[in-house]
Amino acid sequence: MAMDDLLRTLRISASGMKAQGTRLRVISENVANANSLPTQPGGLPYRRKVVTFQNQLDQATGVNMVRVDRVKTDLSDFQQRYDPSHPASDANGYVLAPNVSTLVEMSDMREAQRSYEANLNVIKASKSMLQETIGLMR
């Protein structure tokens, strides 16, 4: 009984780590595309993506897992950059730049990292508890 609970714990934490992994992937996409400008006038630059989480009741085990709900796009305004030499610049010499702020992405990355570590620590704790239980037989 207790063993079952602990084994399910591992699965819950793994789902949390997977969700944070997806979040980190999306963050890296944003950072990598922070300078993806349009190629022609009137074109749109890269639009920032955001991850939302949702908790999901796993029917088979009856526990609250976590999963990535949907990767949505950030609908905030694009930045404007003055660069008349750019092929996509408008009549005034401005070119649209992605709505990605590297500072926001970095703090988001830290948060994902912390949550990942927390889940990892739960797995470590559960593992040592399982080992103690098994150790009773010795």
């Binding site: 009984m1 207790a2 063993m3 079952d4 609970d5 602990l6 399910r8 714990t9 819950i12 934490s13 789902s15 949390g16 969700a19 944070q20 979040r23 939302t52 989480f53 949702q54 908790n55 009856g62 526990v63 609250n64 897992m65 976590v66 948060e111 912390r114 949550s115 927390a118 889940n119 620590n121 739960v122 704790a125 559960s126 040592s128 508890m129 103690e132 239980t133 150790g135 009773l136």
Partner: protein
Amino acid sequence: MDLNKLSLFGVLKGQLGWLGRRQEVLAQNIANSDTPNYKPSDLKAFNFQEMVKTQQMQQGRGLKTTSPMHFAGTRSQTSPFAEAQNTAPFETSPNGNAVVLEEQMAKLGETQIQHRLTTELYRKHINLIKTAIGKGR
């Protein structure tokens, strides 16, 4: 001799079950520490007598079979330990999530130490019985 009839073994077994279940609840909270509108929950404190009472109550439930052709029916296994959602959290983030990671990690450490204590007590008790049996093993 049924070892579970010795009260200490019964209590320790119940405590181990409670700790395992609590670990599961805490893992749920931590995994959902970034889920919007998620409220953390925790188990009510372990009480051996209450656990025995709920287990006895649950054994009486289920479908009655009046003929050998009847199926017993399946009943979803419910945990004998009561869960309680934290209605007054320390803080709630703008997205409605009320999990405080530090609090959950502290509870996790507590659970781990209690588990070690319980398994150690179990082992000591076994040794006690081994001593009583004597060396002629």
